[in-house]
Assembly symmetry: C2
Homo-oligomer: 444 residues x 2
């Protein structure tokens, strides 16, 4: 597990980029998340950047200008990979290179760095940047790691058996759609499809009426493995580049009718939205947490067990869902908070997901995306979807402006946020993941 | 539907490549399937080729040498796309370009063509060629279109409800794994994972004991669609480049334990094997067949219905599974036939699969792969998997050399074949799709 702290984690560090030192900033110098961006409206090539305060440090331009020329080979290789329009090459390099680049950036961007004056020209205001997907995503897998979500949803789909017998043994996952993944800012028309009213003889066709979000984290794969060569759980985190926010939009009425026996398909594959920023696993090291299970639950099978799993396998990441309706936008009102949860409640750790995914010989490639599944906490108000918050649409929510919601309406935007904080630790954040249901309809 | 015949389908045509005119040849001049290849052992760049008899016509080299310089713009564009190491660019061009190139190739390769002497140098013997995946596969979706397979497998997994209520309404599908798809010749170690003996309190971990194949066709997507813009069923075939053979290897014991509630995952994603050759939809035009359903079954919903669906929606493609055990190889014995089936039994047509996949706004991209699902015919001996042929492993098969099989053993190779034939029609074939379970074990 990547639990060792080093000078890049020092809470006392500040940056010469002033906004990075504000107490509520998502991007202090201890964070340094990666994205792929360009200056908006320029038609420039996309390249990698790292967030610092309210700026993007243009890694692609800095590497091209020779800023890293006097650094060690690992840093130079990592910086050179940042000139591409996707982070796959950087992800493939592995943790030694990632860590070398992080250290170099921390030293360059901290207060008093001798390079300060020479580096100012590589800053692009985030407000002037346009983002694209951070990687070419070869495969997208979505897991189901919240036992609270699995139980609450299971109760709605299968009242007689909410939590299936395999749940506490198998990190349940399925393959999702890569083509429809978009970066924060994505909008899409309401999906249409087949639904069936319970008890009806035949299904009907039309727009989904139970459109929902799912609050998730995404995990980008680093080097990956060859087909037939599983990644042992103890080495699994060396294959995780970092984490982002992920909204797994879901049409619950389509899902209920189609999902047997092969799982969700059209209910999920119309869109998935991720945040532009990937927070590296190294940046998350101060927020390691104990991985616990109820005493009566089975111990993980040996291929899912690791020495420091229980002490530090989990990650303490706060997660939040906000809803901005068209009426709120028109009235200039702020979005309404729907729920707050935390990734530390996950029944399975990120190392277990990687080990499980590959144990049969399946190969992961650099840039592959793994979703955590909806991160609902133990309390009902910590639910990560409307399906849970409204108990299957039976209990409507009243928003601060008086609007009612059971499921999402056209024009609704869902905003996910995530952050880590703790006594004596620097607060680091994930930025936002925003997606919107268009008010125009889908064309057949 | 692409049912119009033209001069390229004329059964009287013969080629100046003599082997193409043999009666049992898969690749007569009426076929002209595409692959990506290079001369084995040379380290050359991969490029597109078309099969003719026992040769590959090197399209990449011919295009590079200006062979198509005096052709119309559509043909030139298609030929230029053949210089790449994947067919995605050709697939993206659409049916006008595909058809133009096919006509040009038919005229060049037919007996008496004036170009004959000049084109001999672009022939590479298939026995001297090395193939790779024909396209970069952005997403792989597997369907479940044989009602005979769905019923037989359903009986084993859910004896109380073999065919679920949605089957006759929804073309059931799920997302598969793109990273582990390999071209014919692929080998892989036996997957390992969790299984649970029915009734046992806990699962156990080890090599899969119920390893199986699935006899399928694969369908490569052409131009595709933008997110939010469904492809109407009447236009769907314009988005289908062609078909290949596909073996969806399956570990039945892993599948039974993991598949609820989100579908198959590790039971399928360790390997999928496809044939190198893609037979275009235009080449299949003479083998259009009526699409029929039992009179009591529901009519398709309007978004899945089309004017000439019933007369010509299906395709008459014979399919065959052969098993070659290590003992057969050692003794120089031919592979044993396990079953023969036909794609015309499919409950859903290829146009319906494309229309259904996109009706919710999901975007398909050029080079995406759709699997048909296991093509079991109506008779038990036409089953497309060992699970069905052995009734869940209960009735062993005796092979011609005396060996017994319920499921696959290490060293077994499975060979799929497919072909179209009929009175007064040229026989065209798909070549082979061969995959082998390695005798070495998987390393953790």
């Amino acid at each position: 597990m990547s639990i060792a702290l080093n000078e890049t984690h020092d809470p006392a560090l500040t940056s010469w980029v002033a906004a990075a030192n504000a107490p509520e900033c998502d991007f202090p110098i201890q964070n340094l998340p990666f994205a792929v961006f360009r200056r908006a409206g320029t038609g420039e090539d996309f390249r990698a950047g790292v967030a610092i305060g309210d700026q993007v440090f243009d890694l692609g331009a800095a590497a091209g200008a020779g800023v890293f020329a006097n650094h060690d080979a690992a840093t130079q290789a990592a910086a050179a990979a940042c000139r591409h329009a996707a982070l796959n090459a950087l992800m493939a390099l592995g943790p030694v290179a990632w860590s070398a680049l992080r250290l170099a950036l921390s030293r360059m961007l901290r207060h008093g760095a001798p390079e300060h004056a020479a580096l100012e020209r590589f800053l692009v205001p985030q407000s002037a940047a346009e983002f694209t997907l951070p990687a070419h995503i070869g495969d997208y897998t979505d897991f189901y790691t919240s036992i609270h979500h699995a139980t609450a949803v299971g109760r709605l789909f299968r009242p007689d058996e909410p939590l299936l017998p395999n749940y506490k043994w198998v990190p349940i996952g399925y393959h999702g759609r890569a083509s429809s993944i978009g970066v924060s800012g994505q909008s899409f028309p309401r999906p249409q499809g087949q639904t069936r009213v319970p008890g009806a003889a035949a299904p009907s066709f039309g727009p989904a009426r139970r459109l929902d979000y799912e609050l998730e984290l995404g995990l980008f794969i680093g080097p990956g493995n060859d087909q037939g060569l599983p990644i042992p759980v103890a080495e699994a985190e060396r294959h995780v580049f970092g984490l982002c926010l992920l909204n797994d939009w879901s049409a619950r009425d389509l899902q209920a009718w189609e999902y047997q026996p092969l799982g969700p398909f059209l209910a999920k594959n119309f869109a998935t939205t991720i945040s532009p920023w990937i927070v590296t696993l190294e940046a998350l090291a101060p927020y390691r947490a104990a991985w616990t299970r109820p005493a009566d639950d089975p111990a993980p099978l040996p291929y899912l067990d690791a020495p420091d799993l229980r002490s530090a396998g989990a990650l303490d990441i706060s997660l939040e869902v906000l809803l901005e309706t068209a009426a709120m936008r028109a009235a200039g009102q702020p979005p309404a908070r729907l729920s707050v949860s935390n990734f530390r409640h996950s029944y399975w750790t990120i190392a277990q997901l990687v080990a499980h995914h590959t144990v049969n010989g399946c190969n992961l490639r650099a840039g592959d995306l793994l979703g955590s599944g909806t991160q609902s906490g133990p309390q009902p108000e910590e639910a990560g979807s409307l399906l849970e918050l409204t108990v299957g649409g039976k209990q409507g929510l009243t928003l601060p402006n008086g609007e009612q919601r059971t499921f999402l309406e056209d024009g609704d935007a869902v905003i996910l946020r995530g952050w880590c904080a703790g006594e004596g630790k620097p607060r680091i954040g994930f930025g936002i993941c925003r997606g919107e249901i268009r008010q125009t309809s889908l064309h057949g």
